[in-house]
């Protein structure tokens, strides 16, 4: 879960890392009530990258200009999202911008620290950053980081500040369950101090059980999602809407994507990624049907499940029940395979339901129905 700059900076501040004093406001009116020491930076608060290049960070020389900038930014969208607020900070007298981040990297068997002597918006175009593969957080060694920094950063005093910050970031990432803590730019000010001018922090949603703030943020994010997505999340289903008309109820990320790909190959267009593997229960499947039955763009539903732990005789019984209860007339195509799948045929017998043996056949039928529906 990517935090907004403001939320990320709060975590940095809590860990003793210097950030500019900032004011968070949700409206230009709220900004009018604050005293500002101009010039200021007015910054869109939105969990999305590329904000700076998209005009989401504006320098304002006067309070009036700051209000205008806030109004404009609050009306914009960044990566499809409206900013929830603007962060107003003193405009910094920056001598140099560098890049510093800690992130999880399989190649490092854990955390990796990245540093570039040239930070700012163009970081991705330049030289690749220096790389210190740490592994588990307790393996961090300041002298190793120092050696690596010395190969490209000539300012010895700055190196020492980065070394000290490096430890702080690794401990923050590990102790507060952050997948990424990126400071870009880390600003070297005229007075020689360094300050985190921006913050991009990604927290690990899986750690919500031991971090109340992650739990709260996850819940808040879910509340902000459109209703069907929120309902899916609340029911432990993973739903991503796509552009097509073939509704897909599946189990397992790889199997779901594989089926989506086959739908495309068969001339259809998947309407969604809908993975029910985390909740393969009557309630989970009922919710899945309910979501797709109520989505007008879905013309046909393909149930494609290959169960391991999920026992397919049970799934078949649940499907039979749902088909008997459900009001929607959208056609449903089944391809159930996996543990106990040989019993599906006898369970479906007499119900009018048909289970395809081959995935390709089921996909072809679903795509054909959708095409027919589209033509009708």
């Amino acid at each position: 879960m990517l935090l907004t700059e403001h939320e990320g900076k709060r975590l940095l501040r809590e860990a003793g890392i210097k950030v500019p004093p900032g004011t968070l406001v949700r409206s230009p009116a709220a900004l009018a009530r604050r005293k500002l020491a101009c010039p200021v930076a007015v910054k869109a608060q939105v969990p999305s990258g590329g904000r700076g290049k998209a005009g989401g960070v504006v320098r304002a020389a006067t309070a009036a200009a700051a209000r205008r900038a806030a109004r404009r930014i609050l009306g914009m969208r960044f990566g499809g999202e409206k900013p929830s607020a603007v962060l107003v900070e003193p405009w910094l007298a920056i001598r140099r911008e560098v890049y510093l981040s800690v992130t999880v990297d399989p190649a490092a068997d854990g955390y990796v620290l990245l540093y570039s002597p040239h930070g700012g918006v163009d970081i991705e175009g330049g030289e690749p950053p220096l790389r210190y593969a740490i592994g588990p957080a307790h393996r961090f060694r300041s002298y190793r980081l120092r050696e690596i920094l010395a190969t490209a950063e000539r300012d010895a005093a700055l190196r020492e500040k980065v070394v000290a910050l490096g430890r702080r970031l690794v401990e923050l990432a590990s102790s507060r369950d952050c997948v990424t803590v990126e400071i870009n730019p880390l600003a070297l000010l005229e007075d020689g101090s360094v300050v985190a001018a921006d913050a991009k922090v990604v927290r690990d949603e899986c750690a919500a059980f031991r971090a109340a703030d992650i739990q709260a943020a996850v819940e808040a994010t879910h509340r902000r999602e459109p209703k069907p997505i929120a309902r899916a999340l609340a029911g432990d289903l993973m739903l991503v809407w796509l552009d097509g008309d073939v509704g897909l109820i599946s189990g397992g990320a790889g199997m779901t994507m594989a089926t989506m790909d086959l739908i495309g190959d068969a001339g259809g267009r998947p309407a969604c990624f809908l993975d029910c593997s985390a909740n393969p229960t009557p309630g989970g499947y009922r919710l899945a049907f309910d979501l797709l039955d109520h989505e007008p763009k879905v013309k046909v539903i393909l149930v494609s499940i290959f169960g391991g732990l999920t026992q397919m005789d049970r799934v078949a019984r649940v499907m039979k029940e749902i088909m008997q209860e459900r009001k929607s007339r959208k056609p449903v195509v089944f391809r159930l395979n996996g543990t106990n799948a040989r019993r599906v045929e006898e369970i479906f017998a007499g119900s009018g339901l048909h289970n395809h043996t081959a995935l390709e056949d089921a996909v072809a039928e679903a795509a054909a129905i959708a095409r027919k529906g589209a033509r009708a």
Partner: protein, 320 residues
């Protein structure tokens, strides 16, 4: 041969008293796997499905000489159980659970290494050496002994894929579910090394997806002069950018994460890479034909045997 597990592996099930643990213990035994006991701190001394239940791993190992374990506990306590396993003498640990915090995955992997153990997982159905042993909950009928080493990031896709391979008469030495999380006990690169070193494995099948960098490790391996033939299925052509597709790592962030970039890298490295599960069997056949062009032609394989739900369990292990 096979890698990591075979008929001599002696398994315990940690968390054997839960529904999943109990089901899996029975299912593994039915496959012929040597399950020698279970561990449950809360219910030691009882019997589950005929297995003795021990209070901890050390006691279980002392009584049963177990050297492998499958752990069915929630993510909240998974790290503790994996550490107990590897410090208790277990050499092959499978943790199938998903939703594990990445920090715990990092610590798990480090703990396994520090104790000379191999961890499979998290977020995996486990691994199977067909006809020898099964450590996890994949559907047994999908597998048959043979000459293919299979590596998969995704559980149910590996069932589908192996069902097709088995149905086509293409059995497996070992199928390793490396899991869909970014930090893995055994990574793609490490799984490749294991299968590379296995004399019976004649070709490697890799089942991958968008996001993450494992596919580039496959390409790196395949480009080696001594590499075994590799076939790969990469799914996710229809996935949009910037959305997580179930797996923590299945997210297209940069260009390298895309389906086309991965396919190109694999093809360049000589991998028989396909983008649809329907094309997998011909691709694998082609890979095998590279190895033994005189014995097989890719045209002879039918991709799917509709006539029977349970595939032919005809292996190729006699070849090696």
């Amino acid at each position: 041969m096979s890698v990591l597990i075979d008929q001599r592996s002696r398994f315990i099930i940690q968390g054997v008293t839960g529904n999943v643990g109990r089901f899996s213990a029975r299912d593994m035994r039915e496959y012929g796997t040597a399950v020698v006991g279970g561990v449950s701190a809360a219910s030691p001394g009882m019997e589950i499905e005929g297995f003795p239940v021990f209070p901890d791993v050390r006691a279980a190992c002392a009584a049963t000489r177990a050297d492998a374990s499958v752990i069915y506990v929630p993510a909240t306590t998974a790290l503790d159980h994996v550490v107990e396993a590897v410090e208790g003498g277990i050499k092959i640990v499978v943790y199938p659970g998903d939703g594990l915090p990445v920090r715990d995955a990092i610590e798990m992997r480090a703990a396994a290494r520090a104790n000379g153990a191999t961890l499979i997982g998290p977020n995996t159905p486990g691994l199977i050496s067909p006809g020898k042993a099964k450590a996890g909950f994949m559907p047994s009928f999908c597998y048959a002994p043979g000459a293919l080493g299979v590596i998969s990031r995704s559980g149910s896709l590996s069932y589908e894929a192996c069902f097709r391979l088995t149905s086509a008469g293409l059995g497996q030495t070992t199928v390793i579910g490396i899991g869909g999380d970014p930090i893995k006990g055994v990574s793609a690169a490490e799984a490749l090394e294991l299968l590379h070193a296995d004399t019976e494995t004649q070709a490697i099948v890799y089942l991958g997806e968008i996001g993450g960098g494992d596919e580039y490790d496959v390409a790196t391996y395949a480009a080696r002069r001594d590499a075994k033939p590799v076939a790969a299925l990469i799914v996710g052509r229809q996935a949009p950018k910037g959305k997580k597709m179930g797996h923590a790592a299945a997210l297209i962030g940069s260009h390298a994460d895309t389906h086309s970039a991965k396919m190109k890298a694999l093809a360049t490295a000589g991998v028989h890479a396909v983008g649809a599960v329907s094309e997998l069997v011909p691709a694998v056949a082609a890979a095998l034909n590279v190895l033994k062009p005189s014995q097989e032609s890719s045209g002879t394989f039918t991709p799917f045997d509709k006539a029977q739900d349970r595939p032919r369990l005809r292996g190729r292990s006699s070849r090696a």
